[in-house]
Amino acid sequence: MKTLILGFGNPILTDDGVGIRIAQKIKEENPDLEVIETSEAGIALIDYVAGHDKLVIIDSIKTGQGKPGELYKLGLEDLKPFVYFPSSHGIDIATAFKLGESLGYKMPKYTSIYAVEIMDNTTFKEKCTEEVEGRIPFIVKQIVEEENLRKILSLKAA
């Protein structure tokens, strides 16, 4: 099963980069996994993910209701396509998927989306806030376990 881990975020906007940091750490610990970090908006998703069977997306979220560093798991079906954009910056993941499919691309069969509750994504800073930073090792462990990434690797090796 061709698996891709995709970390979204901006590494110089404080907590916005958390998805990228988690993806980096997963790669450090599992060098044979295919991991991509990107700061791009949603449409580029098609280029990255087409042809994979399984996709794990890691991103940040700001609901303002959870604790910073809290991890949520979503499926694509939880992200309803907005399919309606106020600007270029707003093409979301679900829409990119729908578009990819309707254009005949082979989009992943299995997609999990992990979102980390964040505090600050509007200050230019290379580090996450302490609250979010402190949770990264735990989140990495959770995602690796939840997605059976080790098993995928051992199957790949075999």
């Binding site: 700001k62 270029s88 979301d92 309707s102």
Partner: protein
């Protein structure tokens, strides 16, 4: 782990907000646009070596990284007073035109197109790129993705990475183009030119042959008589990468022409207590508030502005398209905001033709790609035309090249006052006697979608788009209506 569902009405932080205040008669008194603020870039940059800026500034915006990269590289040229080699300039411009073409095409099919191709009154669920493809055909959809992929291929060849380029150095670029790469770029250029011809034909078929759309484009709701600013080459033709900044007045007459380094003599920033955005205006006309006309220093940038300030396009097919646009819309300058979409397609054709022209230039594969800086750095200013308008970087350093001061004027800041005015005018035209008609959200959004403003575009948090809300208040200041997309 908590499981959540995000839909268009899930409340998320960091949204954009339009507030509309009505007077005693229930007509619009004032409208305000609030967008989230990104803080502290200048502080973040200060104390770092200036050479890092072409790489760091690409991260400010997930949509315009190449524009920041190029503006930053040109600022470094000026900082070290080093002129890039002729081949380096051509390589930079080639990459930049590939980026412009890709961005413009994407904008038209994803953002501007749905309002026209599907229709402004169509249900929101259909008014999107999928709706455009349904109308224009699946083949068209495939072409959009293909042209984009190929143009990104050019960015990858020259820039190192398709998204965050790393190629530009003070005085040139880091890598030459091989013969094999040139062949690939020529193929892409040819494909892009054909694609843009197709896009303009689609615009012709779907928009120009429909009287309602032409009336909407040419109508008064979205019209402002302002000054315009953009880069032009030595023949006053549109140029994205280099040249002089030219300003024309609302009658189309040249008002000023200056080098980027002289920007402080021409552009000032106005501050309002209700917004963190600094509103740019022409210093030599003066700030007269959010009003248009000859006496107001408000000016516009981006595709339509660039066409308005120029005497034409430097490539043959784009020149034809340019002439046709002005012929249909009644001559220069055009003040109709929705014509930005048409101008964007004319520019996409120019950018594609220019990619081809530069790729065919024998010098493009030269290995003479950098002049090494030898001067002591102090101050540098650089400018490019980003897809969304004039982008200016200004750095000051100590004599080791460590940044002491950074100022960026981004396209959206140049357009900030007109965006505000366009929203207010649309609201005033559409809301009467306290009646807020259906579909107003889209009609107001159309006003600023034409400019494609950058709204906290550097953030990527889910759901990957900025929600927008409209609040309507009565004359006593009580909230009477709240609109969100999806409600």
């Amino acid at each position: 782990m908590r499981k959540i569902t995000i839909d268009p009405i899930t409340r998320l932080e960091g949204h954009g907000k339009i507030e509309i205040f009505l007077n005693d008669d229930g007509d619009v008194d004032k409208a305000y646009l609030q967008i989230p603020e990104l803080r502290g870039f200048e502080k973040f940059a200060e104390g770092r070596p200036a050479e890092e800026m072409p790489r760091i500034t690409t991260m400010i915006c997930g949509v315009c990284p190449t524009a920041h990269h190029m503006a930053s590289a040109k600022t470094l040229d000026d900082l070290w007073k080093v002129e890039p080699t002729s081949a380096a300039k051509k390589i930079r411009e080639l990459m930049y035109c590939a980026f412009q073409a890709e961005d413009h095409i994407l904008h038209f099919f994803f953002l501007g197109g749905p309002d026209f191709v599907v229709g402004p009154q169509a249900p929101a669920g259909e008014r999107n790129v999928l709706g455009v493809i349904a109308k224009a055909g699946m083949e068209a959809g495939g072409k959009v993705i293909e042209v984009r992929k190929r143009l990104r291929g050019v960015l990858r060849i020259i820039g190192g990475k398709p998204v965050m380029p790393t190629c530009a150095l003070p005085g040139g670029v880091s890598k030459a183009i091989s013969e094999e790469e040139r062949t690939e770029i020529i193929d892409t250029g040819e494909y892009a030119v054909e694609f843009c011809k197709f896009a303009l034909a689609l615009f012709d078929d779907v928009v120009l042959k429909n009287k309602d759309y032409v009336d909407l484009v040419a109508g008064d709701i979205y019209k402002h008589r302002t000054y315009y600013m953009g880069l032009v080459d030595e023949n006053n033709k549109v140029n994205f990468y280099d040249g002089m900044l030219r300003v024309v007045d609302p009658n189309g007459k040249e008002f000023a022409k200056f080098k980027a380094q002289e920007y402080l003599d021409h552009i000032r920033e106005h501050v309002e207590p209700w917004s963190y955005v600094k509103f740019c205006y022409l210093k030599n006309v003066g700030w007269k508030g959010f009003v248009d006309g000859e006496d107001s220093g408000v000016f516009r940038v981006a595709p339509l502005a660039r066409l308005n300030v120029s005497d034409g396009m430097a490539t043959p097919l784009a020149q034809e398209a340019y002439e046709r646009m002005y012929e249909v819309l009644g001559g220069k300058p055009v003040h109709n905001t929705l014509a930005f979409h048409w101008a964007r397609l004319v520019e996409a054709l120019y950018a594609s033709e220019r990619v081809l022209e530069l790729a065919r230039d024998p010098e493009i594969t030269s290995s003479d790609i950098v002049n090494l800086p030898t001067e002591t750095p102090k101050e540098g200013i650089g400018v490019v035309e980003a897809p969304r308008g004039t982008l200016l970087h200004h750095y000051q350093t100590d004599d080791r090249g460590i940044l002491t001061k950074v100022n960026l004027i981004v396209a959206t800041q140049n357009n900030a006052a007109p965006i505000f005015m366009s929203i207010e005018k649309a609201a005033k035209s559409l809301i009467h006697k306290g009646e807020v008609p259906d579909g107003i959200l889209n009609m107001i959004e159309m006003a600023f979608r034409a400019y494609d403003p950058c709204h906290a575009c550097a953030t990527h948090s889910l759901p990957g788009r900025m929600p927008l809300e409209i609040y309507v208040y009565d004359s006593k200041g009580d909230l009477v209506q709240k609109l969100r997309r999806g409600e």
